[in-house]
Symmetry: C3
Subunit: 468 residues, 3 copies
């Protein structure tokens, strides 16, 4: 018996469901464009097999282990490595069994939808995951991974991915991307310029990072102008490895546009480790505007991902480090925060700034009104906790009326869970087709326009926005 | 082929759709009450023809040109006048062609629904607007406008408008309203008292404006008591031109209720141009309470429209001035902000204060709970970006359960786009009937009560709230 | 003719409605667990009849009288007692008539659903309440109340209540609970430890209250350690009267975790009446963490109910006192506010902290992400103004995808309106079944899992969360 309903996520009344099904059929086989994510380029460069079911689905997926932690299961028992490198639980089959026994916790969550989709569509498993089937699951998945059809490049091809962006630090040597470029494999894996380590005065080792940026570029990064020039050169280098975009993940959406001397002084304080929290924040905000100016010159599109309070629990941060499920969204203001940036470059037609949010209330109140008037601004898809049926539905319902569809930028999966990529894009395609169908049946959209839009939301807009 | 689905915006399941259709039929021919808007009284006073399709639908409509701007089209190319009076694009047919070629941008927006409604119901056009049909559209609309049936008064009558309020500055001489009053035309066009220019210390030429208020009323507006008296007289004058309401558009919902001496001192500083930003804000807040006290005396209802950050882009403000689509909603707090006002006069049964918001999150959290207990407070309809299918639906879903229907104030269109008035009221009527029908089919409302409420939401409540 | 649709609140498409009906049938007869509320233990201890229809349904119910007040009806006319003890309207039949005449105000509100449910299911009335039927209603209800079947204990049994928690001040002697414990009646009525009067330095008579806490426990509550010990003893005493939980209703969600000396100094200032507003707030915040530590020791679960601005209108507070419908929700921040508490004890598996909100925007942004990772944190059901069809629907839609079902804590009615208890639980059961059915028909949940979850949401989770 199939695990997934073939009409899943489509509207419930017959007429809308029929239209949605037709729309979905028209776009369901389009290639996947994945312009923002966190898969490892080494997977594709080396093309060595994934280790086992637990390493593939449990250990690296913060959606999965955070839910298990919330019900009292230890990160250690799930094989999540400690910051000092030790792992308590070493047996992947035991990790998998613990996950399977608690799979009921994921009922009603997108994780279950993604996982069931992977189990059925990637591994051909038609039985439900449970304590009873855990062992068979583990054996089947782990054995499959050892076969040629499940090597990273084979899966990439099977997933019909046209382009996949990874994200690397500005200091990364991009050796895997180079190796990929030198190989004869045709898969398009591109990098993304992520400069947090060298624009955030509060980042660990900021001054050393900036010095390293100097070494990598031959610029004198002890002066602000040399530092900016180093960014320019580094962005060029990332472009040679396919990059079409930069990515910026600050705690708030604050931007600034200081006069050069003021920015330069902040930079000197930052290098000296003398910035107050406020000054560090101001410097980060100013650098967003500098990055936007560079984008005007070099054509990289710019992504802003604000609003996450990272490492909320200090104990977990100490034992297990960053990105362990304790990053919590916070209220995020955009109207005043983005004003310096948008006053500087927001009217530029050749610039694209894609903004994301973890605060849904900003969609109808702030982000759709901003994207509905500034040529440079586009809305990114619902992100992180909102990459879900309800999240996507509310995104369309709260933005379309004010900024339309053409100020949005398609879907991106933002994931490190490789096998979830087809599942996530499938959810987005279904929810968008469902929304379009409902617009048709409530007389808000012509059916022929819905067909065009289904293509745009799936494929056209993302290629255009990310220049792919 | 008709452009509009006759069942548009109604619910999707058969039973609810049937009930909604019956409800809609029972109220669809009721006259339009438009108690708040920005049409020009001169149109009706002079009754001269509208110029052409572009001047009617594109140039004055910020919903339309902001969307085009967001996709890189220049305000200049759309004939939107510059602040210095120059217009780059002078050819209305070219403006119309540019608009038509980009009409796909409006898919899924209320603008498309309003425009298609106007095209079909006002101008009888059954073909879709597109690059191909642009020229025929332009000719047909522009030619129609030159005929007697399309003169402003003829349209007013055809639209079945029972009363239409315009909005004028406290300093306006209301000569068009006077001319209308002296004419033999029966159309009811009333004014609204909008005192921003003389209550906001940060308004351009505040001191001169206050002096002019003195000249107009014969009061000594250099003293606070004379200034208040001038307001009283001016409000009386507006009442003779039909006004039943005042309107107040501040950046926040802040109110204050200072002792007279403190208010008087703030006023002196304001006149002297010596208010800090905080003092200016405090003075505006205090004046809302003064205005409410005057309303207690003269019976004018009071409208508060807070929460827009005006002229977000300074460059556009410099070249093209105010109201050019760059007004962006902001987070708006009401509970503490309205407390001084509501403590002063909120329990008064003879007073009506209608509050609007651009921050939807306030509906369920703050505004419905406040309107659900204070006799003086009523909720205005969803406003501006929320004057839409989804905006109206969320308004009902987030307010009804806490403050019911009888603490709301019907619909108003708040528009300067005259031809959109029937379209906008039609959307509101359909969405309300759809909501009522769904309440019936989910067992939350008796069908006979839904019929009564359809009438109240369309006609009864707005007449009562605005004393029309 | 029945007043209530037997399929009320179920989904509208046939397939979902059918599944929802099956789910509802499977759980509709389960006993009621009411782990948080404000009924009077004296009712059950004394088991004397309720006085009349007005005293039962109008006078004590702030949902009811606030709506009537919003339309200009005086609290006095509704028999709501003044703070000085006087009541203007003494005739309960007149109060009832006034309420009945205005019953249309409740159309579309949960109050109407609860009231109609009580009228039909508790009193067997099948005619609608109106001005015409008011008198018959009054007579029928009032006469019924005088019969044995309508005594408090008889209703408790008829309502199929398995456990009912009341809420008492830390200083309460719990004499009614003692009397109930000594009686031979089997109904399970338990208390809840509510220490506001002795943890909030701004509470009336704080120092005296703390002294009284000393007398009651024999501890020296003039020292911080003695004061903490007194809490421990008092909590033990509440446990002997059945308590399984504490309850904390602060204005914000602020928590603190100060070093003992700092906490001790704040306590001394509080006792001396010398705390600034900020210090009082800090002390309250610190005491939440102290209470959580005590919960770790004694196993009482902890409830946090923040975000209400109490007694918004000072005039009504002066004439009629607290809890008169003028408590208004405010924007509430949780991520930073709860961080000290969650860093101190959030990873403890044996601790349960149930958090509520009056700010719905926190569900998807803050509360579901927090509850979806911290073992100690669970989400309380939608509260107060959100104890409604739409409120519950939005709660599930904005939390399930991030924290699943198993990090929620079932339903609680939080009511002082005894007859509304079955109605409120019935609404929750229907809305949950409707939501589960829709998950099934959109392919997001297996039907067999929906059956399990219907039981958990109704009965399993609340018993587990509250240790009942």
């Amino acid at each position: 018996m199939p695990q997934l309903d073939t009409d899943r996520l489509l509207p419930l009344d017959d007429r809308s469901r029929g239209i949605a099904r037709d729309l979905y059929t028209s776009i369901s086989n389009l290639p996947i464009i994945s312009p923002h994510g966190h898969t490892e380029p080494a997977w594709f460069a080396n093309n060595t097999p994934f280790a086992n079911a637990a390493e593939l689905f449990v250990v690296p997926d913060h959606y999965v282990f955070r839910m298990l932690v919330s019900q009292g299961i230890e990160l250690d028992s799930l094989g999540v490595p400690r910051a000092d490198g030790t792992t308590v639980e070493q047996d992947p089959r035991a990790i998998w069994a613990l996950f399977a026994k608690n799979y009921h916790l994921f009922r009603g969550t997108p994780s279950q939808l993604w996982l069931d989709h992977s189990f059925e569509h990637v591994f051909g498993i038609r039985e439900e995951l449970s304590a009873e089937t855990a062992d068979d699951y583990y054996t089947h998945i782990t054995n499959s991974l050892a076969t040629p059809d499940f090597l990273p490049r084979a899966l990439f091809d099977r997933f019909n991915i046209e382009a996949l962006a990874t994200t690397e630090s500005a200091l990364d040597e991009l050796k895997w991307h180079k190796q990929l470029g030198d190989s004869d494999w045709q898969g398009r894996i591109i990098t993304t310029y992520r400069p947090d380590a060298v624009v955030d005065p509060e980042f660990a080792d900021f001054a050393n990072n900036v010095a390293q940026l100097g070494s990598l570029t031959g610029c004198d990064t002890q002066t602000f102008s040399g530092y900016l020039q180093a960014h320019r050169l580094r962005r060029q280098f990332f472009k040679t490895m396919g990059a079409t975009a930069t990515d910026h993940g600050h705690a708030s959406a604050r931007t600034e546009d200081f006069p050069p001397e003021q920015a330069s002084k902040l930079f000197e304080k930052a290098l000296a480790g003398q910035c107050s929290a406020e000054e560090a924040d101001a410097f980060r905000g100013h650098m967003l505007t500098e990055m936007a100016r560079m984008s005007l010159d070099d054509g990289l599109i710019m992504q802003i991902h604000p609003g996450s309070a990272r490492s909320h629990n200090h104990g977990v941060a100490a034992t297990h480090g960053r990105d362990k499920g304790f990053d919590i969204p916070t209220r995020t203001e955009y109207v005043h925060a983005l004003q310096p940036l948008l006053n500087a470059v927001g009217m530029e037609k050749s610039l694209t700034i894609i903004v994301f949010t973890l605060d849904e209330t900003a969609f109808s109140r702030e982000l759709a009104p901003l994207a509905g008037v500034y040529p440079a601004l586009k809305l990114g898809p619902p992100w992180w906790f909102f990459d879900s049926y309800e999240g996507m539905r509310r995104f369309r319902e709260t933005t379309t009326e004010t900024c339309g569809f053409y100020n949005t930028a398609g879907f991106n999966d933002d994931t490190r869970a490789f096998c979830s990529i087809p599942a996530r894009h499938d959810v987005a395609r279904r929810v968008d087709c469902a929304y379009l169908a409902t617009l048709v049946t409530t007389g808000r959209l012509r059916e022929k326009d819905a067909i065009e839009l289904a293509f745009e939301l799936t494929y056209g807009l993302v290629k255009k926005a990310y220049r792919l």
